[in-house]
Symmetry: C2
Subunit: 336 residues, 2 copies
């Protein structure tokens, strides 16, 4: 009989705790903002869409998306074009729209090809945000990605530190892509303004190919035997430049700054053939993309006037930040 | 006896619901991300700090902060310097730091005065983000505010629409403040690039004073009797320019574009003496500031490598967006 009484008392205590919690939520639920717990409902599904969907780069974006899904109690799905193919990405997105998910976070293969199909999703009432690689003309609510100009500026300061403030440097880039162009501009402007004893002697196009970057680096070293640094704005080329330095036994003299943190790049930072890499805030892209989609889906953004105009109810742009990987901190960047 | 049994059954049901909920949370708590419900704890207090703390402008920032507090189940406090006085704001911030709140969102009176005391808060382990008016040299984790250059560009496009693409225009601004300078630059650059038949004939300084803006507008109209538009980058001056147009019975011919949406500005848009105003995403500044602080306080940002370096674990910059207020949508902008 005593045991039963104890059990009842425990149950009463649990019930009071439960009731108190709900009473609080209710009392807070006043005003125009639709207050509710930040927790999703059964079957609430959000989709992340990329291109070249198998590459390592997206892993950390997806991890952020997953972590937000855990925190918000919703489910997610990862989809994408397997190739570097705009048509394929459009088809994948069409298929996703047909399933009416709670929201879509997409990295656009180029600034214009996806506009029509993104707008179709938004017009169908599906929240869409774009991350990493933008679609500026579309109706997507927000863009979350790197400030590429600032990233180029950081690379320039890092290069100046590595070179003691003087020497000849070159840039290897993908001039056809806007993000790479901005990295190059940020780098050049910063060298010019802040590091007058460094000269940018060449800007080359490796077309996103490691082998091409390797050959370019070798020929640059022929043209400028005293070349002291190369900044490679895209992930594949950094490895090529590093390999060229290694083959010519110039690792000590040629400083390579790469972009992104796939395993090969990290390995080459460890062994010294790449001096540094610019890491992007990929986890933040995924995490805050899902937060934004959740807020749109649950109508947790501010009501009018945003709703009445051509105005995003969310912040329109998010600079997800960068960091510099060096031999000192490279171990922290390996996937765990 | 039957009643008691029923009560017990209810209690048991409540307990099971409570237990089930907690069991779910626990099962989701795997992996490196510290998953937990996005709900605060008792006594978790966040502080918003401004200057000229009584002005209408902050109301919507605070509403966003409050709405996020409701969603996250935490409490907040609003503090600030009552005057436009850096020393006063520093003192207020010192007092807040002494109480060790869960986080601080501050709008800095100028870009440099607050740096020391913001860093002191961060060094004491208190999360700090800056909103609306930045402190770029400080250790604050993030800045959430308007992209002022883009806002100036939008004002330029709006002006071109109002003027049918041609005419003389002037800018009234506060050249000593960085945000106003950027608005002016965005406006001028955009007029130059996209609207070649519009000429910016003057850029004047009203020192943030409505009376000064009124006199400036009158003298501009003497110098340029065919002046067709004025863009005023700061809140007080827009009303002055509108009043000048009204007194001289020039409302039909002189288009005034103002900034921000206090009641007087909205009234003047309704009556026609101001043609449009640029509204800032103030609710977003407050809402996402608190979300960021909450994530820092609960360690919900990504763990290493961000933690190991000089790197913000949050997005470093958020463009909270703008919208254009016109006679067509002005009613939506009045506080409800």
């Amino acid at each position: 009989m005593k045991k039963t009484a104890l059990l009842y008392m425990l149950l009463i205590a649990a019930f009071l705790a439960y009731a108190a919690r709900h009473a609080y939520v209710n009392s807070a639920g006043e005003g125009s903002f639709r207050s509710e717990e930040l927790r999703g409902e059964l079957g609430e599904n959000y989709v992340m869409v990329t291109f070249l969907s198998g590459i390592e780069y997206w892993k950390s974006c997806l991890k952020g998306f997953e972590d937000a899904a855990e925190a918000l109690n919703v489910s997610i799905e990862y989809r994408g074009a397997t190739q570097y193919d705009a048509r394929e990405q459009i088809t994948v997105l069409e298929q996703i729209i047909a399933k009416k998910p709670a929201g879509i976070a997409i990295s656009a293969i180029d600034p214009s090809s996806l506009t029509g199909v993104i707008d179709k999703a938004v017009d169908a009432g599906i929240p869409v945000v774009v991350f990493d690689s933008g679609a500026p003309g579309s109706k997507a609510y927000s863009f979350l990605g790197t400030d590429n100009y600032a990233a180029g500026a950081t690379a320039a300061d890092q290069m100046a530190e590595l070179l003691g403030g003087q020497g000849k440097v070159a840039v290897i880039t993908l001039p056809s892509q806007q993000n790479h162009d901005e990295r190059t501009r940020g780098f050049r402007d910063t060298i010019e303004k802040r590091h007058p004893d460094i000269k940018v002697v060449a800007v080359e196009d490796d077309k996103g190919d490691a082998m091409a970057a390797k050959e370019l680096t070798k020929s640059l070293l022929k043209r400028y035997p005293d070349l002291a640094g190369v900044f490679v704005t895209e992930a594949a080329g950094g490895k090529g430049a590093g390999e060229a330095a290694k083959e010519l036994k110039r690792e000590e003299k040629l400083r390579v700054i790469a972009f992104d943190t796939d395993k090969d790049t990290l390995d080459m930072i460890r062994e010294g053939s790449i001096s540094a890499a610019i890491a992007q805030g990929t986890w933040n892209m995924g995490y805050w993309s899902l937060q934004y989609l959740f807020h749109l889906h649950h109508d947790l953004t501010i009501p009018s006037p945003a709703a009445s105009g051509d105005v995003s109810p969310l912040p329109v742009g998010v600079d997800t930040g960068i960091s510099v990987v060096t031999p000192e901190n490279v171990d922290d960047y390996y996937a765990k």
